[in-house]
Amino acid sequence: MTKTLRAGALLFSTLLIVVSCGETPAPVGETLTSEFWPTETYGSEASATKSVLLASLSDGPLAASSEASFSTHFRGEAFSDRPLAPLRVESGVVIGDWLDVNSDLEAERFRANWNLYLAEFEEILTVEQHTWEVQLRPGAEGEPGIESKESLWILGRIPDGRLREDRLNLVLDLVKSGEEWKLTGVASEAGRTTVAPGPYFHDVTQQVLPPGFDQSGAQIYTDGGPVLADFDGDGDIDLFLPRLHASARLYRNNGEGYFDDVTATWGLEVNALRSGTNSGLFLDFDGDGDLDLVAGRKREGLLLFRNQGTSFEDITGPTPLGGPGEWEALAAADYDGDRQIDIFMANYGLIDADHQPESYVDARDGRFNVLLRNLGDGRFEDATEAAGLDPNRERWSYAAAWADYDVDGDLDLYVANDYATNSLYRNRGDGTFEEIAAEAGALDGGNGMGVSWADVDGDLRLDLYISNMQSFAGNRITRLENFPGTPEQRALYRRFSKGNSLLRNRGDGTFEDITESSGAKPAFWAWGNAPLDYDADGDLDLLVSGGFYTGLRAKDT
């Protein structure tokens, strides 16, 4: 049993990270055998046939030449001019869910109808296809067959100039006849059409950032995020950019959203920031009323820069705070009420071709998280154990966020962990914590990458929105009958590939998982998330950033 599950876990680790962008994944790892995962092999074999609809989006209408992909027993649904459920309109965006149709078109009529459907778009801009689930469905003669659930997203322009995106959830039936895979059915389980007057967000990077700075990317495990605050106190929001493989930059806002590079004039053109940083925070750690800067070196720890009015002074001392690690997010708060701002540092684990976590769902071999207690005068002490933040400090932690979620007057801490459940540290009010994620219903097993506190339902309580990994391949294999393990273990693995989570604050110190009904679950391989009321209508919308590693070729490993 252990052995099978181990094999399953390995497959999970390689497959769960695979997304098929129109191409099915090639087998990875020696244990991926057609005997164990025939659906993956069949899906791969049938990929050309599966992609016939996709190809029609770029190459023009489904022509007679595509006939070979259709079985003589084919039956398909109509897509053109689908009836929609009552439309929702929000800030000029019109959303219509597709109603079911009971059409039963044979191949030729299906192709004609599909071509009519494509003609509803004047121009197709982008297309994505992903495979969610594949199950064995042998053909009538016992020949190999699969039912493949695919999402197909089509973004385009319609004749009146507006942008339209259709999200189709296709159910493709395929059988292998001789050496050829043929489509025997195309249906749509659910679909949605979204239309907007035009983009509301415009990429202004080139206009607002000074020219000529190094925008080059880096290796696979590079991370980082924008650090935003008004560090010079002139009323506008400035930007610090940590960089792992380049020099960190400090940008000052001119008041109208245009930025000047002031790294040198503010004293940050220093060796410690030439490379190696992945995090930062603007915060007043010396309590003198202006914003100082802390910058995290991923491998070495935290640097302190005191704001002297017109420049930053490096007061780190001989070694960075926290010491050697795999440092990730920083989150600051005065947890003990002494009016000095303390800093929590999330610590990950070592990962590369030779190092992996001990478990994909319960890893405890990460580096230790640290709570730095502010002693004043730019001095900090490691208070992790004294404060009771040591339980689960050995998780592979990516992110953390503070909030007085139970409104008892002190700040609590949520930590999002990769390869494990998350942690919720409730502040007892005396500067010590208890880890209550399990009792509070806030474990959220998943590959946690980012977390934000936000009142998403307007009930004046802070809910939790957590970015997790969503994996199409993970969804596929964990749904198979032969995925190893007990029902509980299978459910656990399935959960770890499901996507983001939304935990509603009940107001009694516990949370209700409303992920499934919220619609905020699927956001790909998610990292960051930013709650924002983009249209200023009073409710919080959610921006999720994602995608893991795009190589030179779109094909997945």
Partner: protein, 352 residues
Amino acid sequence: MASESAGQEEDKDSGHRNHFRLLQEEGLSWSGMEPNTLFQNRGDGTFDEVGNVLGTYLRLDSRGVAAADLDGDGDLDLAVYNRNNPVIKIFRNDTPGQGNVLEVDLTGTDSGPMAIGAQAIASCGERSILRQVEVGSGFISQPPPRLHFGLGDCRNVETLTVRWPSGTEQILHDLPVNQRVEIVEDDDRFQSHPLRARNYNRQDLVPIAGELSAARPNLVFRRLEGEGELSLAAFDDETVVLNFWATWCTACVLEMPDLQALSRRFAGRVRFLGVSLDQEREDSEVLAYAHELGTTYEQVLGTIQDQAPFSSLGSSPPGAVPLTAVIHHGTVRAVFVGQIDVDTVAKLLETL
């Protein structure tokens, strides 16, 4: 899964090494090309994904993201950090027809310098909105500690209740909208700074004056002053400036004094007509508001459908306000989306 044999360890390692080799040497992807996602709240904590049609679509391998009002116009822009080139992307928010906003900076005394963890509740009309001060969230990111309240069409924040970390609760009354206010713990005075006008991306949205020559649409509006209706056809031997606006639209409110000045300057030569899109408000309320802003030209009530024939002359979205159209003898000669430039409009009117 507690124990593993050496053989399984080998499998595991070779699998991963193979994986990295495929990425590095053969240039394959690993969950690549995935767009970022924008979930739009339906108002009750359920969401629709709208990012691809609203322009946040980005196929880079994005990591941290934070929202902030970078250009000081009251709406939240985006800074997106990516693994691959370009490392940073800035997206400006140009959402048309946004609501009013209030931005709040809190300074603590007993609560420590940044009042981290302070929760503030803005009550405006029917609605109460909670925001908290935080330093570090999402994934390795810091959104600014400034609080941002979207208020829809509400124009007066009756109360702002601040729960300071020190334990005190402070209530401020009647805060103006479309301002950034600075509040110090236990001090009921506050400093306020007006926000900049919202910028539409002029290059994208503004058709150029003087080049248009389209027949005026056949529109009939309901009068806000007096009874009955008013048809555009009645002015076919005149020059008309039609200004679509709404009480919740910041840029509209900011440009109305300019329109009033123009109407004075061209009195007797050009007819000015304000078309409010405030279908949900009482007529008398809308009219009172227009007068409060100093306008004396006639006000009527219209719909987004009335505005659409004008916005479609350019590439601007239907419903974008403010929108100002110049109609000369039954022909549309210019359409301006966003806050007008007085000189440009004046120059055009002189030539007609």
